[in-house]
Structures are given as C-alpha cells and as structure tokens.
C-alpha cells in the first residue's frame, strides 16, 4: 500500500503515527477497564476521593446480587436478549436473503426497482421514534404487548433493509451462467436458490447475520416501548438504572459488563465479517 511505503521512508512520521495510534487505543480501552474495575468494587469505594482505580479486594458481590438474588431477574433478561437476538437473526436472514434473490432475478419494470430501493432507504433513515407509538398500539391490538415476539418483530423490521441490500450485492456478483445451466437441468427457482445460489452467498449471509445480531442485542428504543415486565431485554435493564432513585453504581457496572462483554468477544471473533458488512457500501459504490 502506497501510504505505508511513504511512511516507511520517513522514520519520524512513522513514530508519530504509532504514538497517535497508541493514544487512540488507550482512549478506547481505558473506559472499558474502568467499567470492569467498577463492577468488582465495593459499593462504599464509589464514594471515596481520590477514586478507587485499582480495587484492594475483588468482589463478585455485584454479580451475585444480579444473578442469584431471588427477586433479581437479570438471568431472565439475559435469556430474553439471547432469544430475541437469535430469533431476529434467523428470521431476518432467512426472509431477507429470499427477498434479495427474488429482487435480483425478478424482471421488474424500472420504476418498481427504484421504488423498492426507495422504501429500503426510507426505512433505514427515518427516525425510529416515529413508529414507536403506532407500533405500541398495533401490538396492543394484536395482544402481543410485553412479549418477545413483539420485540423480535420490531428488530426484524429494522434489520431487513440492510440484510436485503447486503445479500443483493452478493447475489448480483454471481455469474448468471451457473443458474442457466441449472435451469437447463430442469431446476425451478427454489431449487436454484437452495442448491446453486445459497452455498455461494454463505459469506454474505454470515455478514448479514452478524450485523443483525449486533443490532438486535443492543437495541433499546423499540424494545423498551413494547415490554413492561416479562419481556425486558438487557438494554432496558441497563437503562432502568438511570431513573432509579438511589443509584447503585456497582450493580449498574456489573449489568453493563453483562451486556457489553458478549458483544466484545463476538466482535473479536467475527471481526472480518463485521468490518466487511460495515464497509461494503463505501467500497462498492
């Protein structure tokens, strides 16, 4: 890469570059470290000055209260979040990839394709606060309030536009000859999708699935609007610490770790797909 070669010629600049990157890494990592420390601190250590940055004793009390107190439903929140995330991902990727294939192969008149693209654009960019109330009313009518189904459905709707758009990019990259020969062998659209297209777009599906999982796990607004008691997910639990009167810093930190840590591990593990999904639009105009 050109830029690196230029850097390599100038040792001063290369040193500067790494100094800057080290500062960035610290700015990113130190807050996470502080969160982790806070989650194992004693409650009284939050009141001291100077602040306790390295705790003298490491206490799992906060986690114990969250998970083992009988009247503390954190474990339930975790399960709810997990169920919603998995269900959203499966449904969004399954229906989204089918739709993407259909859109790619359908001989639509020009305006209709533009219209569909426009719909997806609008759905991505309108403020979600607009639909929160009507969605709440609709779920009440359907008797789905405070269910995981209501949250899942909302998340599927949020994820579908980019799943379709992303998988579409992968389908359009496939050479048409593959399907033509399958068609000559007498394969219908379903068989062509299932046996020819699907195996070839697996990387695209994985990318879409990973982005969907992040979205669903972290989403707060729609989930909070349709759930009140039984169907709370982790973001709602984290946000609920804010309105509580006496702020319990230790429990709040521990709860934040519970929501943050899985996604960090997931990001490290699925980094390649994550980056590809996020940058696809910029690289392929």
């Amino acid at each position: 890469m050109t830029t690196t070669r230029v850097h390599a010629r100038l040792p001063m600049l290369d040193a500067l570059r790494w100094a800057l990157l080290v500062v960035c890494v610290l700015i990113v990592l130190l807050p996470f470290a502080y969160l982790l420390v806070n989650s194992v601190k004693l409650e009284r250590d939050f009141q001291t000055y100077p602040p306790v940055l390295i705790p003298s004793v490491i206490m799992a009390t906060n986690y114990q209260t969250l998970f083992f107190d009988t009247n503390n439903p954190t474990f339930g929140y975790l399960v709810n979040s997990f169920v919603v995330t998995v269900a959203t991902t499966v449904i969004a990727v399954a229906t989204g990839s089918l739709a993407a294939y259909g859109l790619a192969r359908l001989k639509l008149p020009f305006h209709l394709t533009t219209l569909i693209a426009l719909v997806f654009l609008v759905v991505r960019f309108y403020p979600k606060i607009t639909t929160v109330l009507p969605y709440y009313v609709l779920m009440r009518q359907l008797k789905l309030l405070d269910t995981l189904a209501a949250i899942t459905l909302a998340h599927v709707g949020l994820a579908l536009p980019f799943v379709v758009w992303l998988v579409l990019a992968f389908v359009q990259d496939l050479p048409p000859e593959l399907e033509q020969s399958a068609m000559l062998d007498g394969c219908g659209p379903w068989a062509r999708f299932r046996f020819v297209v699907l195996p070839l777009i697996t990387p695209g599906l994985l990318t879409a699935a990973i982005l969907t999982a992040f979205l669903s796990w972290n989403e707060f607004l729609l989930a909070s609007s349709v759930s009140s008691l039984k169907a709370k997910t982790l973001p709602i639990a984290v946000a609920s610490f804010v309105t509580d009167k006496g702020l319990n810093w230790g429990a709040m930190s521990a709860m934040s770790v519970v929501i943050v840590l899985p996604m960090i591990l997931f990001a490290l593990f699925a980094q390649r797909y994550l980056v590809r999904g996020l940058t696809l639009g910029a690289v392929k105009a």
Partner: protein, 283 residues
C-alpha cells in the same frame, strides 16, 4: 413465482415499519392525547405541526439536535480520516490496532451512556481526578447545561469515530496504486498527493459516512437517556428525547407524531441532498 420469495420479507416490513409509519402520519393529523381521551379526536390538519413549530422547547430541541449532529459528525470525520490514514496496511500490529479501535461501536449505546456517566462524574469520576492531578479544576460535566451538551457530543465521538475510520480504511485500501506512482514520478509532495489525489478519490466514501453519521446523530436518543436524561432542565433535550417524553411519558400521541414527522422530513431531506451531491461528485 419469484414474488413468493419477496412476500415474507415484505409482509414483515409492512407490519413492523410501513404500517406504523402510515399510522403515525395519520396520528399527526388528528387530535389525540391519551390523557384527555381514550379515543382519537377529529381531523385537525396541520395544527399539531404548527403547534410544534411554535413551541420553544421543540425549537430548542431541534436546534440542539442540529448542533450535536454537525459538531459530532465533523469531528468524527476529521479524526476518523486521520486515524484511517495511520491504519492502512497489512501488518500484524496494524490489524490488531484496527480490531481494538472498533470496539466502542459494537457495544450498546445505553451501556456507553452509563459508562461515561461514571467516567464524567464530577465528584468521584476518574477524568476529573486525572485533570486535578495536572492542576485543572474541572466542572461537573453532566451537571451544567453547556458542558452536558459537550459531553453528549464527546461521547458520540468516542463511540462512532471508529465507524468513520473503518469505512475510510476500506476505501483507502482500494485506491489504485498506479495513480500514486505516476504522481510520485511527477514530483508530487506528500501533502499534494493527499490534497489532489487521495481526497478527491475518497469523496464518495466520505459523503457516505457523512450521511450515516449526520442522520444517526441527529436522531440521538439512547446515550442521552442514560447519561443526562435530557437534563439539567431541558438543556440536553434532543429531538428524539423530547418526542420520547411527549409520546411515551405524557401520551400526547398526536403532538409527538407531528414532531416526529418534522424530524423525519429533516433527516430524509438531508439524505436526499447528500445522495444528490454524491451522484454529482461521481460523474
């Protein structure tokens, strides 16, 4: 037959997005506040819109959202570009750094809010402690109107500069090497290379991140909710937060719907303008 492929996704989209969207447009044109009546009132035309536009809190929230969007996005783009220029390449260290630097954007915005709330705590927060060590008497960041807004902007920059960075790293890695070789032969300096080659070639990607960041920051809600909860006073009431309060707390359904359509019109117009500019830039 292929329509059957599209039908499930379309049905899900209609139920979860398009129908509620149409419903909210209808809501914004009638008179319905749950506190006053359990049934929707009559058609009132654009009254709710007029009410919102005349409401000083709405205007304040609108201005604040614009300010946050412009300030956060411009810093994110400049910073993201600088870091991206440092991060292109294939070395092990570079790749590891890239991985670490994307972490803020993968975590829940509500958790980012609680995390920064602790970091910025005026009395026992580590940031103010650090500043006091070098002799700076720092304010209670989230407790005063101006610094609270600055904090919201700063937190957004912390979480989303990584997004700008990875998109630009990807775009930079696809730039054709021959152009640089040719320019180097012509004796272009580093700054000239950047100014006349890199920057123009990067424009489509820059406009794309500009669009995503501008619109998403304009609609900011989650971090506000868990750091300042709109306060102190109304000082960090962004548009989304104000609408959230009006709709889900006071149940002024029609008023909230009208305000949210004003937000929607603004953000979609911004998207439209940026897409037009982008198309023109590519020709």
């Amino acid at each position: 037959m292929l329509l059957v492929f599209i039908a499930p996704a379309l049905a899900l989209l209609v139920v979860s997005q398009l129908y509620p969207l149409a419903q909210s447009l209808w809501l914004s044109l009638v008179d319905w506040a749950l506190a006053r009546s359990p049934e929707p009132g009559g058609f009132v035309g654009l009254d709710n819109y007029a009410k919102a536009l005349a409401d000083p809190v709405f205007r304040g929230a609108f201005g604040l959202s614009c300010l946050i969007a412009l300030a956060a996005t411009s810093v994110e783009i400049v910073l993201g570009l600088i870091v991206a220029l440092c991060l292109v390449g294939e070395g092990r260290a570079v790749r590891l750094t890239r991985t670490v630097l994307i972490l803020p954007m993968v975590i829940a915005p509500v958790a980012v809010g609680t995390l920064w709330r602790m970091l910025l705590n005026g009395r026992s927060g580590p940031i103010n402690y650090g500043l006091s060590l070098i002799g700076i008497q720092a304010p209670d960041w989230l407790g005063q109107p101006v610094t609270a807004v600055m904090s919201i902007i700063g937190i957004d920059i912390w979480q989303w500069t990584p997004y700008v960075m990875i998109v630009l790293v990807a775009a930079l890695s696809t730039l054709p090497e021959e152009v640089y070789a040719a320019a180097a032969v012509d004796g272009g300096g580093r700054w000239q290379l950047f100014r006349y080659i890199t920057l123009p070639l990067l424009t489509p990607a820059l406009l794309l991140v500009l669009m995503f960041r501008l619109v998403d920051t304009f609609m900011i809600l989650d971090t506000v909710y868990t750091t300042t909860f709109g306060g102190p006073g109304f000082s960090t009431h962004t548009l989304s937060f104000y609408i959230y309060q009006q709709g889900l707390r006071y149940y002024n359904l029609s008023y909230a719907a009208a305000a949210s359509w004003l937000l929607l019109i603004t953000s979609l117009s911004a998207v439209g303008v940026i897409l037009l500019v982008r198309r023109r830039a590519q020709v």
